[in-house]
Each structure stands twice: as C-alpha cells, then as structure tokens.
Amino acid sequence: MTKYNAVTEEIIQQIKDAAPGHVLVGDAVNEDYAHDETMRVETVPKKPDVVVEARSTEEVAAVMKICNENHIPVTPRGAGTGLSGGAWPLMGGVVITTEKMNKILGYDETNMIVRVQAGVLLATLAEDCTSRGLMYPPDPGQKFATLGGNANTNAGGMRAVKYGTTRDYIREITVVLPTGKITKFGAPVVKNSSGYSLMHLMIGSEGTLGIITELTLKVVAAPKKTISLLAPFGKEGDGLRCVPRMIRAGLNLEAAEFIDRVSADKSAAYLGKEVFPKVVDGVECEVYLLMTFEGRTDDELELEVERAAEILQDSGSADILVADTPALKKEMWSARDSLQEAHVSLVKRTCSFDITIPISELADYMVFLRGLADEEKIHFSCFGHAGDGNLHIGYYDDSLSNEEFDERIERVTEKAYARCKEIGGVISGEHGIGFERAKYLPAQVGEECIELMQGIKQVFDPNLILNPGKVCFALD
C-alpha cells in the first residue's frame, strides 16, 4: 500500500497560507466530511485532518501542489451526496471541497452553453435554466448534488432515455491535476476530433485523476409542452417488456421510470399519501411505469399520448393516470424522486446496487433478482430507469445480525454482478465505483482493462495522492 505522510503543523500552515481563511482543522472539521451518503459500508469513516473550502481554481491548485510535494492524500468533495463512497477520505489527509465555488459564470445563448463553477448545485442550474426558457437535461434523482460531482460520476437520471447522461452535456472542463497544475480539457464547440479526449477520461473518473473546478455545459431549449403518464400493471413482466416497444415506436419519451410494488408501498409510508395506487380497476398493481412525453403543441402531445396509450393498453396496463397540470406532475415526480430517501429512512441497513443492463433483459433480470432474495431469505425492492436499464436495487432485512446480513449480501452481490455481466450489463450506471464497488471492478472489466486504468492513473497522479482507494486501486 502507498505510504502517505502525516499532516504536520508546518504543512497545515502552508495550506492556510495557500487558502487563507478557507481551511478547517481539528474540531472545526465536521464529522460529515468523513463520508458521503453511501449505505452499508463496513469501513469506519475517518475524519480528514484538514478541510479546504476552496473558493477558486488557483486555491485548489496551490493546495494540491503542497499535498503532492508532501505525499499527503487528498480527497475531492462536492455536496457529499455520492452513493459509492467516492468522497470518503479513506486515508485521512486533506479534503478539498468545491461547495463554495457555486457561481453560475454566464450563459452564451448563441452557442447554447453555460459556464459554471463545480460547486453549483444541479437544482440551482436547473431552476436558472428554466427561468430563461432553457433546460439542462441531466436529471439525477438527487437534485442537491454539485455539477462537479455529477461530472465525476457521469450522473444520468430520469431523462437519460432521450437526452443521455452528464457526459453528453459537457463541452469543456477546467481541471487541477494532482501535481497542482491547471489545465483545460475539451472545448466549447460541438465537434472535437483533436487528439485523445482527456475530457471524457476525466468524466466519470470520480476525482481520481484531477479536480474539476469549472465546467462549460451544453443547454437546450426547454420543451414547450410535457405530460406525464402513470401506467400501473398487474404483472411486473408486462410492464417492463412494454418499455422497449415504446422506445421502438419512436415516441417523444423524455423519461420512463419503473417502480415496483414494495418501493411504491415505501413511498406511501414515507410521504403519508398514496401517489402510486395499490389497486386500479380491481387489479393489484405489481409495477408502475412513470413516463413524461414532450411535444411542441397540445395537439402534438395529445397524439403522442394516444400512441403511447395504445402500446400500454396492449401490453396489459390496468389503466393510465394522467398528470397534465404542473401540480400533478410535480406530485408524481416528487414521489419518484423520494424513493431512495424513503427506502433508506425505513430500513436500518441496506445495500444498494446501480446495475445497468440492456432494456431487453429488464423483465427476466428482475425475476432473477427476486429469486436471489428468496434464496438468501432477504427482502428486496427495486425501482429505476426503465428507459435505459439502470436499476436501483435494495436488499435489506433489519432482523438479521450484521454478520448474517453481510454474508448474505456478499453472496447476493456476487451472483447479481455475475449475471449482470453475462447479459451485457455493468455494475454501475451512474453512481460510480468509489470504494464500495472497487473490489468488484476487475471481474466486471477484466484484468487488462484494470491494468490500463491503473497505468492511466499513474500518469496523472504518479504519487497516488488523489482519492486513494477508489475505482481501480482498491485498498489492500
């Protein structure tokens, strides 16, 4: 394992000189900086020695340089909403948070781009865009993540079925390398075929190759009209098999989510109201498809909905509920956004997967996952992005001892990941590898790929000081 040096008083002073007034040490370091929102981790969170609340790229660079020269581990951090442990300072040392770098630097509406600091929250940008008739399409459930954090995990979210993921909306980034040098990757243009795309290498690298401090993002004109439909199905397989048909039909589908029965029940318990009705027209609902369609006019939208209804009804939908007012749309989608929160608030221990598989496999893979839960006698719930095959799976059982729980989860994880690989899936679609999934990555991508990743990491970060223990370098 790489040896790191302790953060001495002298180094702390150097860091304070580099970022005057923005450095926290000792008791001023909140316990929250020891972890993010990752659940079920055996690792005990370790508080960093120093937290730097950076205000500028230059400040980040100056601190990185000091840490690199002194072999001090550095963990970058956004809002701390990650779900794979990417922001855990496993080796202590210094945490550099970009939370205070939260300015929208300006729009260029001719080129349809916006420049932001990395600490701007997704919700802030989304709202600002809306007020200008624009839309920033990436729409992960966690709206209070930073845009720098979204870039680092290549966050996707609800609209990925139509618009893709964060990667598709980044044009240029400013990066502080582990050596403390400042560089830019990408360019504010649509096409770029100029050498290796280090920008795309940086996106999804989870703060292991550099710290992103500024981003130039693509925005689009906001859709004129939208309507949301909730289609409950008596049989889960019918609902999930219907999704590829909807996509193949060329519908203007902005989002297509699914919610299983147990997740719907948790939502009702958590919110105190039943947005996803248990029984519709006498049919007990096993799964729900929640969709949003876009259109330029009411007539266009109506036609879109009629075409969708044909497919949904033909696939066995019990009925179709319509959210066509801002209030109803908000209610339906808020209930969807709160599913993860509902799950973690109602169970004491849980593991959470972020598997992504081809959408053709959704129905069969769900049967497989339920089978694993039966085999291991553990509870199971699932919701996710039906339109892009990204599943958020929870296995949990508060009646088990910690040891029993861990053993069962370990077996379930290995089997779920192995089957995922067989059918062409990946172990993380948008949460990232962090350290939670680092030990499973070699089996997913293969040894050659891991060696290449490690080689790349060493080119960027020869002293391995940046975000140790994450992605391709698991701690021993």
Binding site: L229, L321, P326, L328
Partner: protein, 258 residues
C-alpha cells in the same frame, strides 16, 4: 342530490410570477390551472357522491375561452356537467362583483327549475386569495354557510361538515341547501385517467351567461408596486423564545431604545 362546484382558472401557483413594466403580473408564459382549493372541493363532493351512490355534480366557471380546459379537467375527475359564464361584465372582477355574477347566474338556473342541494367553493383562490366569494354568495342566496370544510358527508336532510378551526376542527350539521367553502382535506384530488380525459373532451359545455349582469361595484387590483426592502434590521434566531426575547431586550438597551 345535485351539487354545484364553482371553480376558477388561475395561473399555476408553483411558478414565480414576475411583474411587467407597468406593474401588472406577466402571466403569458405561466400555465393556467384549476384553483387548488376548488379541486379539493370537487374531490370532496365526488367522494360524497360515491359514498351515497347517487347525485349529479355540475362545475361552473366564470372565464374566457381558456377556461374551457379547466372545466374539462373537472369533468375528467368527477364532475358530470360543466357550465361557463363569460361576457364583458366578467372581466377584471373583484370578489364582490364575482359573487354578484355567480348569484345572478345561479338564481336564473334556480328559476329555470334546477336545484342545488349544496354549492361548493374553494376556501379562496390561489391568485387573489380574497376568500370572500363563497360567503358573499351564501349571503345573497340566503343559504346556510360553512367555511373551511376539510371533510363532509350527507346526513339526514343536510350535511355533516368537519370545519377547520384555529385549534383543530369541529363538526357542524347544516341543512340543505347550503354553501360550503373547502379547505385542504387530508387527501389529494384524484388523478384523471386517460379514459376519463378522452370522455371529458367529448362532453358539452353549457353556456349559462345572462344577457346582462347588475354589478354594483367592481374595483379590482390590476398592478402591484413592490416597495424596496427596508434596509438594516437584524434577525434574532436564538435557541428558544425566552433567549430571543432576552437578546432583543439586550439589543434595544444597547441602542438606547429602552
């Protein structure tokens, strides 16, 4: 039984309204929707009707062509019939004028032989929030009035209504016919289904507009001026009220106010 629900189309209240240069609200880009309290009223009476197993619900609105979509929304979530009123007298009305228009319209329907066992209104509209229309209408019709209902059920020759009070709620019995204004119940209005929306699209909208209306007074606010925020001031946010009071006294003593 026959029920009438008075509804108003309002700008979506989840969107921040900005003012034009002349101080009038810029509503061009804001979607119009049925006033939330009116949707609660419709849901409440729809549940009464479902429990009773009979009854007819008519929704009535005063509004231009765009208000038709509000009525169709109501038809897709419980209403059986819909009627609209619109002429020059209806533009820029205040609560008093609106209650007169509604009173005259409803009176004509009563004269023509219609009967309403209960007339429901939202407690207030989310745009002007006067909260007066229901009460004024009851006064003019000479009907009993219950305000702030959060639940109701048919009961003998009237209704048992749970009314929201400052301390919680109380149950009142009211005879038919009556006017009931509805607050937020502990449930949400139902979602329309695709089938109910398609059916609503084909349903007729009746025109209840009278040849003329006698409106005695009609001064409605058309523009607003936002006064600059007072500078200075200090927020006192201590752990509890006692500490806050102590802090406030200390500041006033320091500034020689006390």
């Amino acid at each position: 039984m026959n029920y009438l629900v008075c509804v108003k189309q309002v700008p979506d209240d989840s969107v921040l309204v900005t003012l034009d240069a002349d101080g009038s609200p810029d509503l061009q880009s804001i979607d119009l929707t049925v006033n939330a309290f009116d949707t609660y009223a419709l849901e409440m009476i729809t549940r009464v009707r479902e429990k009773q197993g009979e009854g007819e619900i008519t929704v009535l609105t005063v509004g231009g062509e765009t208000a038709v979509s509000a009525l169709r929304s109501c038809l897709s979530v419980g209403a059986d019939k819909a009627a609209r009123v619109w002429n020059a007298a209806c533009e820029h009305t205040n609560a008093k004028a609106m209650s007169e228009i509604l009173y005259q319209t409803i009176s004509k329907q009563l004269e023509d032989g219609r009967k309403f066992d209960a007339i429901l209104c939202g407690l207030e509209s989310t745009d002007t929030m006067s909260g007066q229309v229901g009460a004024r209408l009851a006064e003019k019709l000479g009907y009993a009035l219950v305000t702030g209902a959060v639940s109701m059920e048919a009961f003998e020759d009237g209704f048992k209504v749970e009314q929201e009070t400052e301390n919680g709620s109380r149950v009142l019995k009211v005879e038919r016919p009556c006017v009931i204004t509805v607050s937020k119940p502990n449930y949400d209005p139902r979602y329309p289904t695709l089938k109910s929306k398609m059916a609503a699209r084909k349903m007729p909208i009746e025109d209840w507009t009278l040849d003329s209306y006698q409106v005695t007074e009609n001064a409605a606010a058309r523009s607003f001026e936002v006064l600059p925020q007072k500078e200075g001031g200090q927020k006192i946010m201590e752990e509890d009220v006692a500490c806050s009071v102590q802090k406030a006294i200390a500041i006033m003593v320091e500034d020689k106010v006390l």
